[in-house]
Amino acid sequence: MNSFSTWLTGLMFAIFAVMVLVSLQYPPGARFMPLIVGIPGLLLCALQLALDFAKARRSRSLDRFRAAPKAGKPEAAAELPEFGQHTRGREILMWIYFVAFVGSVVLFGFYITVPIGITLFLWTQAGARLPVAAGAGAAATLVLFLMFGELLQIRLHPGLVAPHIARAVGL
């Protein structure tokens, strides 16, 4: 059984269940669509869970009868899957970087986050030399400013905290 997939099904079941329960407090017209979608969604999750458990039971019973490797015949070297235990560290690191980047944009805005975020990633994760990474970060910020600030006249998010800090230090 792919336990991660089963956990994901469980999570989807919970999401559907919460949304269906919340929809019950809405007027009949407003809850009609959430119910017509949510209840089948719940049933589908239940069906998928049942299928996963049935598959797991079947594979357990098959495992019992599976022949042992033949004596003297070396087992072929197993190819590593795309994701697994060997990629967990990098996955966690990527998630930390992603959440930190987005969090930093929310708090400090694009123009502070972009040069720092790009430089740090290229230097620490992609193996670029620090001057190259810093140059790429600065260039990206410049392009960002020229494209959105000057050409398209779009005011990018300044950050929730950065303007207060700037005011406090008299900028």
Partner: protein, 504 residues
């Protein structure tokens, strides 16, 4: 019809603004097509912020052109290094790489690039030829059928794109439909699932959802895996422009094969969920079967390069048909494109046929002109474009993230969308890791509002009896059949050795 058709062409080629945008889209599409880790879906998702403020036609032409030429450059690494950029190009590798090893890389590239361009053009022509036949059928559809088509679209995509994972695909699709209910209810004015968060009153941002489900998971996977497509050295493959020309001439020499495989590709493209890989492999098999010398295939037969390339690009024209007229994307790339079309104010459905036929024709011409430009550019620069396959994917991650966060913010100018992005990305990455299909989500989210409106209209017109209309019964029967097959596929005992893929 003829007036609209040529009016659209004139409007396209006489506008320096649109032609300039097409040129940018072609160059960008070709570059991302050959760059490791950036597929068609990701490139469209990243380009969405740049179409803000553009008018409907310019934005749609820009995105469609980029999407259409994306696959044209993908075969370069298949031929030069024997490493396919994605599933679509795997069939090309079988004969393209042996040709390169024989010192005929330029011939193979000339044939494949030209075949790809011609396939794209024929695919667009097939779509254009079907419009007069399709019009009466599309106009038969009432709100009842449109609601059921939304459900059928999700079932179909989930079923065809993932075989025995249809239940998972349906869960993802229904979740998309569920998220489409977030925000102000059009009937009662109740703010559903939004509470006091005003930014949610207009619903979940489509751009944010698309980026979270497609772009962020791919970016994290790219950062996790790292590396480049090609790790082999760029040895000299005796590239010469004389060979390239001889490759180009192979396409008119095999015109009958080109025509057949392009049409097959376009027809496969019309079936939602059957992607470019299916078209490419099917047409490769067709080329082998119909050849007088099938023993040459796999050893460097030029037909083995031409057939999959025409098919995989020919399907783009075909897949535009269900996307525009039924709101059911023909592929996951089209699903993202459909989301982008909605952002531009293009509402797929029967009204495309009656109110926006000029736009439909403009898009068809964009496919044709875009492919012509792409072929012309790529034939000149293909030798150097191959270098991009050596780029380490990790170098791209922070720049992709930059595009993603800007796109997410600019979609509504709400910083809260960035928080939603992180939350939805966690689920999107879960789908990627567990190998669940993600395209049904976009269809659910995109069609959710339309489906709800259609459902209320159908209930007002016919009450619950709308389920008993003849066309509704046909659609319900199709949905139930798909479900039954899904359960059977999941429960039947598997025979060993059945998983052997087409490519062996």
């Amino acid at each position: 019809m003829i007036e609209t058709m040529f009016g659209a062409l004139f409007g396209l080629v006489s506008s320096p603004h649109i032609m300039g945008l097409m040129l940018i889209a072609v160059i960008f599409g070709l570059l991302v097509g050959v760059t490791p880790g950036i597929g068609g879906k990701l490139s469209i998702a990243m380009a969405i912020p740049f179409v803000y403020g553009m008018d409907m036609v310019a934005g749609a032409v820009f995105l469609l052109t980029m999407h259409a030429v994306n696959g044209t450059s993908g075969q370069i690494s298949s031929i030069m290094f024997g490493i396919p950029g994605d599933g679509d190009d795997a069939a090309t590798t079988l004969d393209g790489y042996p040709l390169a090893k024989k010192g005929e890389a330029a011939r193979a590239l000339g044939a494949s690039i030209t075949a790809s361009g011609v396939g794209g053009i024929i695919g667009a022509v097939v779509f254009a030829l079907l419009i007069p036949f399709l019009e009466p059928i599309v106009l038969q559809f009432s709100p009842a059928e449109f609601f059921l088509i939304a459900i059928l679209g999700i079932s179909f995509i989930a079923f065809l794109s993932s075989g025995d994972k249809i239940v998972k695909g349906l869960i993802v699709g229904f979740w998309g439909l569920m998220l489409a209910t977030v925000g102000m209810d059009p009937q009662t004015g109740t703010a559903r699932y939004a509470g006091d968060h005003l930014f949610l009153w207009d619903g979940v941002s489509l751009v944010t959802a698309v980026l979270a489900l497609f772009a962020v998971p791919e970016m994290i996977a790219l950062g996790t895996k790292g590396g480049s497509i090609s790790s082999v050295s760029a040895e000299d493959k005796n590239f010469s422009y004389r060979q390239l020309l001889s490759g180009i001439l192979e396409v008119p020499r095999h015109w009958w094969l080109v025509l057949r495989t392009s049409v097959i590709g376009a027809v496969i493209g019309m079936i939602p969920g059957l992607g470019g890989s299916a078209a490419a492999w099917l047409c490769y098999g067709h080329a082998v079967q119909t050849s007088k010398h099938p023993e040459r295939f796999g050893k460097g037969a030029i037909e083995g390069v031409i057939a999959p390339e025409t098919a995989s690009n020919g399907k783009e024209g075909g897949s535009l048909l269900p996307t525009l007229f039924f709101g059911i994307p023909g592929s996951s790339g089209m699903a993202v494109l459909l989301g982008a079309f909605l952002i531009l104010g293009i509402q797929p459905g029967a009204r495309m046929m009656t109110d926006h036929l000029d736009l439909v024709w403009t898009l068809i011409w964009a496919l044709i002109v875009g492919n012509l430009i792409a072929v012309a550019i790529l034939l000149v620069i293909c030798r150097w474009v191959a270098v991009l396959t050596f780029v380490n994917g990790r170098y791209l991650v922070p720049f992709i993230l930059l595009f993603v966060t800007i796109g997410c913010f600019v979609s509504d100018f709400q910083w809260q969308n960035l928080v939603v992005l992180v939350l939805l990305s966690a689920i999107g990455y879960g789908f990627l890791r567990a190998d669940w299909p993600r395209a049904p989500f976009v269809i659910g989210l995109v069609l959710g509002g339309e489906a709800e409106g259609s459902l209320h209209q159908a209930l007002q017109l016919w009450g619950y009896g709308f389920f008993l209309r003849p066309l509704s019964l046909v659609l319900i029967a199709m949905i139930v059949s798909l479900m039954a097959i899904a359960v059977w596929r999941n429960l039947r005992p598997r025979r060993h050795g059945r998983q052997v893929g087409f490519g062996g």
